[in-house]
Amino acid sequence: MAQARSRKRRIGMQIAEHSTGIVASLLFLAPIVWTVLSAFKPAQESRQPPLPPWPTTGFSVENYATLNTFGDGLWLPAQNSIYVSVMTVVLSVIVSVLAGYGFSRFRFPLKNLLFVVILSTIMIPFQSILTPIFLVLTKIGLHNTLTGLVCVYVTLQLPFSIFMMRNAFDAVPREIEEAARMDGANNVTMLLRVMLPLVWPGIVTIALFAFLGAWNEFLAALVLMTDQSKFTLPIMMTALQSGRFGAIDWGAVQAGVTVMMSPCLVLFLLLQRFYIRGLMAGAVK
């Protein structure tokens, strides 16, 4: 009798816990789902409040077509965003793999000082040095260029990604290296052939953070990209939402937000464990 009662209580507890979990999950997912669904309404329906969130008068990609008529269209800022994000990923991976290897495996003058200086830039808000960055970019001829923006984004990624890569290289046992050196591997082949396969989880993590950082960044792009043809998606969408291209079309905003969110959500769902790993590494150290 008592056993049956306690079993009943346990099932009751489980139901209560899972209902809480499901309700909370829905609350967190709702705004995202609401937007993605509403974006597929016909333009006429998009002007109405999104009740219900799904299209009631047929699916349509009209909002995406409308979005494409504002400013330089959808494709150009999307291209800019893709270029900036991919370049940021490539460059920050190359630079931090090299630096991580250097800081982990070599002894040279000023090593500790340089490492501490790079890491401590994370304490200083880049928001407070944007004006001089603007002037520096002008000085070296990268003013108002996507490449200039990439340089800034890569620099902002470095403290985290060099820290990650240094730890990743530190975790590779020295014996492996020594064995490879016996076989006549030099520094470069050592790094490319022997070390890279061993530290690739770290590389995926820093690549993911670099992509999300560059894709989502707003203030630096807003300040540094003054020419409309250089706008990234967040800047172009904010211009649209502020009414810069005439009356605000909320359907187009939903479509744009969907475009902006999708790569982040897809990458996160695919590479979730690398993301959590990165957070944990940051949190534990």
């Binding site: 967190f28 630096a99 830039t121 040095i129 520096v136 939903q254 982040c264």
Partner: protein
């Protein structure tokens, strides 16, 4: 153990001497990173300090004016208001984030069915950018085409559609709701790593000694999580002090300039009014505040984990 150490130590020393020159190559490996940090961080940092001593318009000559910019800041009541608002926002939003994130962390920390799904759902808003999230919520908060005002009106909760962004209180709390939605999952993961680092035997031992869940939380969970809590606090405070995107995109600093944050004010001075020297001086003030906060919090972090 000792024999291995004894034989390998001289061997390693010999290798290092032989490899003395090769070690310099390390400098080559770190050079690109150092160059980037110097050009795009150290130099601009020095320039901020230098520019803050100048009258520096976008066009035309700039000239040294000493500390005049800093004296002007003392009289700049709108900057102090922005700073006051930023502080108010930081306190409120940090409390709100922790109030939501801590129960979520406790909820997903215990393994049960569907934990993965719950964790992923709570975390999803954290991977989309602040700009995307702000654009999304600016639609949801819109009085005519949005969700909240029309929905409460349709349900008969309000007599007419209320414009949530027209007055300070509803606008401010809407932003808080949006930021909590966006950031709570992130804080949750940080707190979860802290919870997972507590040895389960400790909890079990306390349970056997008859400690209730609340007593266990206060005597074991909280003290053992102090470092994690400090880290989550640093991230939340630093992020909130630098808040800009959501106030720019959703509220444009309004209603009636009441939600201008410190970064927003610096942005206005530097890139709308083009008072670059004055903006640099304001940046220096913000920078000092942030570094001071970081140092205080780092001290909190450095204290050894454990029960005092």
């Amino acid at each position: 153990m000792t024999t291995i150490a004894a034989t390998s130590a001289p061997a390693r020393r010999r290798k290092l001497v032989g490899a003395g020159r090769r070690q310099w190559i390390g400098l080559l490996y770190v050079a690109p990173a150092v160059a980037l940090v110097v050009v795009f961080f150290i130099v601009p940092l020095g320039m901020t300090a230098w520019m803050s001593l100048h009258n520096w318009p976008l066009m035309g000559e700039h000239y040294l004016i000493g500390l005049d910019n800093y004296w002007a800041i003392l009289r700049d009541t709108r900057f102090w208001n922005a700073l006051k608002f930023t502080g108010y926002y930081t306190v409120i939003v940090t409390i709100a984030i922790f109030v939501v994130a801590f129960p979520l962390a406790l909820f997903i920390e215990r393994p049960r069915q569907m934990t993965g799904f719950y964790r992923t759902s709570f975390f999803m808003p954290a991977v989309i950018g602040f700009a995307s999230a702000s654009l999304l919520w600016s639609w949801l908060l819109n009085v005519d085409s949005g969700l909240f005002s029309p929905a409460t009106f349709e349900l008969g909760l309000t007599e007419k559609k209320v414009n949530l962004l027209a007055t300070f209180q509803p606008a401010f709390w809407s932003i808080i709701a949006m930021v909590v939605w966006k950031v709570a999952g992130f804080t949750m993961i940080i707190l979860m790593t802290g919870l997972q680092s507590i040895p389960p035997d400790l909890q079990e031992a306390a349970m056997i000694d008859g400690a209730g869940p609340l007593a266990r939380f206060r005597a074991i969970t909280l003290p053992l999580m102090r470092r994690t809590l400090a880290l989550a606090l640093i991230l939340s405070v630093a992020g909130s002090v630098l808040a800009f995107d959501q106030f720019y995109i959703i509220l444009r600093g309004g209603p009636r300039n009441q939600t201008l944050t410190a970064v927003y004010w610096i942005f206005n001075q530097s890139f709308v009014s083009f008072k670059l020297g004055y903006g640099a001086a304001l940046s220096m003030v913000l920078l000092v505040i942030l570094v001071a906060l970081s140092l205080i919090q780092l001290r909190l972090l450095r204290q050894p984990e454990g029960i005092d």
